[in-house]
């Protein structure tokens, strides 16, 4: 519940005026509906008495009020929905920014699995309803009921109690209690639905192995069992839902009956006139509209609480990170992971990484590693032990060796993506750190985003000109493809959809080139390209990185041939180091694979 309150707090801080305005408009809507019926009852009763000649009745004001309420009810309802939704969307956008910052700044490794992302997405969607289906209806119902009770109380306390009492107990307290009681089932149901998904993924991915193992039937049964679990939880929820529904209906009906009896008493005592009595009874009708949105609370609240518990920590971290702090990159060189920087810092180190980081052609960074290591973390990254390596500015080095040997880990270490476990290291005199603009890494997995090609390249260089971007695309032999589809304005879908795998790879490479880092770390840069395209890309790369330091990881001969020095990594250690022209170099080259013909 505290997590949910935190989320609601975020709502309140982000768009306080709009949210409050939405609730007031909701109250106005309810009040108009109430007024429309109540005044109608008042007028009819008054007209009846006047028609019998018992009283003199002014019909002008009631009929004007009826027309007024008919219009305000429509208008207020329409405006309320616009304002509430607009406010909610503002909060949703802000919440997503918070969550992004929270995850981006988090200590946990960058690679969140698709599974976790799917869960996060479900949670965020569940929280969308916090205001629209929980806070706003509850607040509007409470305010309207309080106003109604106060108005009735001026006629008689008993009347107020008789009409508002059942509405509060059955219409508001009841659903909330049921929701709290049902929270655990809502959570169980969510987990059971998730089990359906996970088990089907296993069945789908493992159909061959499962069939051969004779366990496909079991896998189907496991999905069925999860579906049964969902059904069993739902059965329990239905019972509560039934009670909540019945309570909602009875809340209104009991209030009407209460108003009838208490009002008749007041008429008998001469405290209230006939038309006002009719007004009171009919006003109680409006309670139906007020408590109806709360009926589904029993089903929704549990899911919201679960989502809030998982999202609130990310939100808090993100909100804290969002407050301006002097550039996170300005961390001093020696701080990262307690590793001492080898080499000599350049003067003015504080602002060293503050600028664009772009360096003119011909200036590469030196790399120094002394007994550096990376610990095994549950098999996620291949560990490194006692790696010592010195790379001179402008050198081109290829890391070779079997998969899982630690090539990618070594690149990630130099890029500051993994925590070092001891040793000394420096790139251009500074400890590696993610986000250094003078170091660029092309990750093995191509990561592109929704937006235009220009947006993609601007990630590498926010102030880049069209000419710069076009040149980079030409370097990686991608410009003809892009030019034919709208040039730099070509739109990319999520994950770069719209380009083929090989084209995405080359766009990511171009994005790295426009950043003009002094050290380029390339993890299998031409993976998935055919031989001809790969040759053109590597030639373009050679020209574009003239004088810069390049370290690439590869198991392909034509890719590694780019390098003047081969460093062989195996079992987390450097086991060979050879420069072009030596016999060892040739032997290492001979051990690399040929580029396979594309298989699809």
């Amino acid at each position: 519940m505290r997590a949910l309150l935190a989320i609601m707090g975020r709502f309140a801080r982000t768009a306080p005026a709009r949210l409050a305005g939405g609730i007031l408009l909701a109250v106005a809507t309810l009040a108009s509906g109430l007024g429309l019926l109540a005044v109608s009852g008042y007028m009819i009763a008054g007209a009846a008495l006047a028609g019998l000649g018992l009283i003199v009745f002014d019909t002008f004001r009631p009929s004007a009020a009826i027309r007024f309420f008919a219009l305000t009810r429509t208008g207020a309802r329409y405006l309320e929905r616009l304002v509430s939704h607009d406010a909610t969307f503002r909060v949703l956008a802000a919440l997503r920014v918070d969550v992004f910052r929270g995850i981006a700044r988090g200590r946990e490794a960058a690679g969140r699995s698709a599974d976790l992302l799917a869960r996060l997405s479900g949670d965020l969607d569940a929280l969308d309803a916090v205001h629209l289906r929980f806070a706003a209806p509850l607040a509007a119902a409470a305010v309207t009921l309080a106003a109604l009770a106060a108005a009735f109380a001026t006629l008689g306390t008993g009347l107020a109690l008789a009409a508002a009492g059942p509405a509060v107990l059955l219409g508001i307290v009841g659903p909330v209690l049921l929701a709290v009681k049902g929270e655990r089932d809502a959570r169980r149901r969510h987990h059971a639905v998730d089990a359906v998904r996970r088990r089907l993924v296993d069945l789908d991915r493992g159909r061959t192995e499962l069939a051969v193992a004779g366990r496909l039937g079991e896998a189907v049964a496991a999905v069925g069992a999860a579906a049964d679990r969902v059904a069993a939880v739902e059965e329990r929820q239905h019972r509560r839902d039934m009670i909540a529904r019945a309570a909602g209906v009875l809340a209104t009906q009991a209030a009407i009956a209460g108003a009838l009896v208490a009002g008749a008493g007041l008429v008998g005592a001469g405290a209230v006139s006939g038309p006002v009595f009719a007004l009171v009874v009919v006003a109680a009708f409006a309670i139906a509209e007020l408590v109806q949105p709360l009926r589904t609370l029993a089903l929704d609240l549990g899911r919201m609480l679960l989502a809030a518990r998982r999202v609130a920590p990310l939100m808090r971290a993100g909100e804290a990170a969002g407050r301006p702090v002097a550039g996170s990159r300005a961390r001093s060189a020696g701080e990262a992971g307690g590793v001492e920087a080898a080499g000599r810092p350049v003067a003015g180190s504080g602002s060293r990484f503050g600028g664009s980081g772009r360096v003119p052609a011909g200036s590469g960074a030196a790399v120094v590693l002394e007994a550096a290591g990376v610990a095994a973390t549950g098999g996620r990254v291949a560990p490194l032990r006692g790696v010592s390596l010195r790379i001179e500015p402008g050198e081109r080095v290829a890391l070779v060796g079997p998969s899982g040997a630690g090539k990618s880990t070594l690149l990630a270490l130099l890029a500051g993506l993994v925590e070092p476990a001891g040793g000394r290291m420096a790139v251009d005199g500074f400890a590696p750190e993610a986000g250094r603009p003078d170091v660029g890494l092309l990750t093995q997995r191509t990561e592109l985003f929704r937006g235009t090609v220009r947006d993609a390249l601007a990630l590498g260089r926010p102030d880049g000109s069209d000419a710069v971007f076009r040149r980079a695309l030409e370097t990686v032999a991608l410009w003809p493809v892009v030019e034919a589809r709208g040039g730099l304005h070509m739109a990319l879908g999520e994950g770069g959809a719209g380009l083929s795998g090989g084209e995405r790879r080359r766009l990511a490479l171009a994005r790295l080139l426009v950043a003009e880092p002094a050290l380029l770390l390339l993890d299998e840069p031409t993976d998935g390209l055919d031989a001809g395209t790969a040759a053109r890309v590597m030639a373009g790369l050679a020209a574009a990185t003239e004088g810069r330091t390049v370290v690439l990881a590869s198991h392909l001969g034509d890719e590694a041939a780019f390098a003047d020095r081969l460093v062989r990594v195996d079992g987390g250690r450097i086991v060979a180091d050879a420069r072009r022209g030596t016999e060892l170099f040739e032997r290492l080259m001979a051990g690399l694979n040929d580029r396979a013909a594309p298989t699809n």
Binding site: L37, L82, L216, P437, G440, A596
Partner: protein, 611 residues
């Protein structure tokens, strides 16, 4: 909506008639309630009901009817909810059973995860439709008419007011709703959703960190959110109009009824009463009924949006689950017998496999493998090696031809038992969510010593020793933590542990670096001891290690005739020399054939990738 294109029979049914009837009954209870209440109020106002006892008995009757109404409503909801639960369970089981029968070589299968999402979240989103839509539609057909008739019995003028207002509402709402739908479709394609934008960026978080662009990206997400909000609001501004129209017309109609009743009672209007002059009781009665005349329309307009979810799910079922696909032979259930027996001979005669869309994967393949023999099916991508292997394991039903294991045909009745003798080493082996040990013992359990022996033979002992949690190391949904080569060696270890007499290996060394590939070759060679082994591969070094190489030609594209003049000719050579010869021939012929192979590869390779 796409409804016009499909046959009228909806596969997702609505709530049963009993739920619909009860929900109508619950709504209709309001008519006697309104009658009782109107009489009581009029009695009090006119001073006829002086005693509290009379009022209390009227209130009691009203409450009694209210309990009936609440009971009918809850009962209806209960039936509808139970129906929804059963229907969702049925859909989930149906999806799982259908998906389990699909052959792994069918390239048109939905991507992993699509089916899973369909069965979990998308089926879950059916709830409102299953529970609400049917009752709301029936109420819309019955309740307004019933109320109009009752009102007409009192006052034809009031009934006329209600009936005149009614047809305008669906007209306007459908116009407004259609435009809102078009706009929202255009908008979704253009800007995405709030969550989509976030997930898109999170999926590339490493890159964002590397470019030091966390803050820039946060701003970009905020900007995108702002754009999405503006566009969504422009759609909603229109969509909300449709419910505003309902509100407006119902409010105006209620107001008109109230004014008519009031003016009639004052004697200012002399027409409109049906049977008897309208008095206070009947006037209030009409007023009380008027809002409930419109309530079913409101309910239905809310439920109408639920139908969109059902239509969307139906479209997904149509696209993913209902199309005919190549299936496996048998059920994939556990083999009845315990003893797997001696290494079997494998005979394939005239095997043809065609996908339901007509694509021929292999045609007319025949081969003989002796018991205990080690054979490579050698050929370029697209020659159908993997499909032949899958057919031997009964993982795809042949369109023609037979497969025999140890002399017995593999058919629907025997396939499960036949698979009980087979171990499979796939190109992208499965890592189930669970521990390394669970994955190792997927086919058969084993004690610690047996597991260690299997791991050592598959050359995985070093890796397991390095892992901090050893055999208890969890493997993620996609087998995170193990490389492709390690996963394949795990599959070899699994095969060894299961001690099955026939091992089928599908491209076990594809896409591996030279050293890892060599480790897998060694592991396979060790596993083949005392077993029959068939390997589908285009790796010459692996083929060279086998006793015999069977070369598979790709089908020529277009005319179905291979370059040699015969479909799917197999060339066989015994021994290492023969293998070398076959491979030389393959190398020499490769350039001229590559065009054909690439075309056929389109369908086959995609299927292999998923297996």
């Amino acid at each position: 909506m796409s409804g016009g294109m499909r046959p009228p029979d909806r596969t997702i049914p609505t709530a049963p008639a009993s739920a619909r009837a009860l929900s109508v009954a619950a709504s209709l209870v309001w008519i006697p309630q309104a009658f009782v209440l109107a009489g009581a109020v009029a009695g009090v106002v006119e001073g006829r009901l002086a005693g509290m006892a009379d009022v209390a008995s009227a209130a009691g009757l009203f409450l009694l009817l209210a309990v009936l109404r609440a009971g009918l409503d809850a009962w209806s909801a209960r039936i509808a909810a139970g129906f929804a639960t059963r229907e969702k369970r049925r859909l989930r089981r149906m999806i799982a059973e259908t998906a389990a029968a699909w052959s792994p070589v069918d390239a048109t299968r939905p991507a992993p995860g699509e089916i899973a999402l369909l069965a979990s979240d998308q089926v879950e989103s059916l709830d409102p439709y299953l529970t609400r839509y049917g009752p709301a539609r029936t109420r819309l057909m019955v309740v307004p008419l019933a109320i109009a008739l009752v009102v007409a019995a009192v006052s034809w003028a009031s009934a006329l007011i209600l009936l005149l207002a009614f047809p305008f509402i669906p007209l306007f709402t459908s116009l407004i709703g259609a435009e809102a739908r078009d706009r929202s479709r255009a908008q979704l394609a253009e800007v995405g959703t709030f969550t989509g934008v976030l997930l898109d960026r999170l999926s590339g978080l490493t890159t964002i960190r590397l470019f030091g662009a966390v803050d820039r990206t946060a701003e970009a997400i905020a900007d995108a959110g702002d754009r999405i909000r503006r566009r969504t609001m422009s759609v909603l501004a229109l969509a909300f109009l449709s419910s505003a129209v309902i509100e407006l017309f119902s409010s105006i109609a209620v107001a008109l009824v109230a004014v008519w009743v009031g003016f009639t009672l004052l004697g200012w209007i002399g027409f409109g009463a049906t049977l008897a002059p309208v008095d206070l009781a009947t006037g209030l009665f009409v007023l009380f009924l008027a809002p409930d005349f419109f309530q079913p329309l409101r309910d239905f307009s809310a439920a109408y949006h639920d139908k969109a979810a059902a239509d969307a799910l139906d479209d997904r079922l149509e696209a993913l689950v209902r199309p005919a696909r190549a299936g496996i032979v048998g059920t994939g259930g556990r083999a009845p017998t315990g003893d797997a027996g001696p290494p079997p001979a494998v005979t394939v005669e005239g095997l043809t496999v065609a996908a339901p869309d007509g694509a021929v994967l292999v045609e007319g393949v025949s081969l003989d493998v002796a018991a205990g023999e080690r054979v490579a099916l050698f050929g370029p991508s697209g020659s159908g090696k993997s499909t032949v292997l899958a057919a031997i394991a009964g993982l795809v039903a042949p369109s023609a031809g037979t497969v025999r294991l140890g002399g017995a045909a593999v058919d629907a009745a025997t396939a499960d038992a036949a698979r009980g003798r087979i171990a499979w080493v796939g190109q992208a082996p499965l890592a189930l969510a669970g521990s390394l040990e669970r994955n190792l013992t997927l086919i058969a359990p084993g004690d610690r010593a047996a597991m260690d022996r299997a791991l050592a033979a598959a050359r995985l002992d070093g890796l397991v020793a390095r892992l901090p949690r050893g055999l208890r190391t969890p493997l993620g949904e996609t087998g995170a933590g193990l490389s492709g080569g390690e996963l394949r060696r795990l599959a070899v270890a699994r095969a060894l542990l299961a001690d099955r007499p026939l091992i089928l290996a599908d491209e076990p060394t594809a896409d591996l670096d030279a050293e890892t590939a060599e480790a897998v070759r060694g592991a396979l060679a060790a596993a083949a001891e005392g077993r029959t082994l068939i390997v589908a591969t285009h790796d010459p070094a692996l083929a060279r290690r086998m006793d015999r190489v069977i070369r598979l030609e790709p089908r020529a594209a277009g005319n179905g005739i291979a370059p040699a003049g015969e479909d799917h000719r197999t060339a066989e050579k015994a021994g290492a020399d023969g293998a070398a010869e076959v491979m030389r021939a393959a190398d020499a012929g490769a350039p001229s054939r590559s065009g054909d192979a690439a075309v056929v590869a389109g369908s086959v390779a995609a299927g292999e990738g998923r297996a």
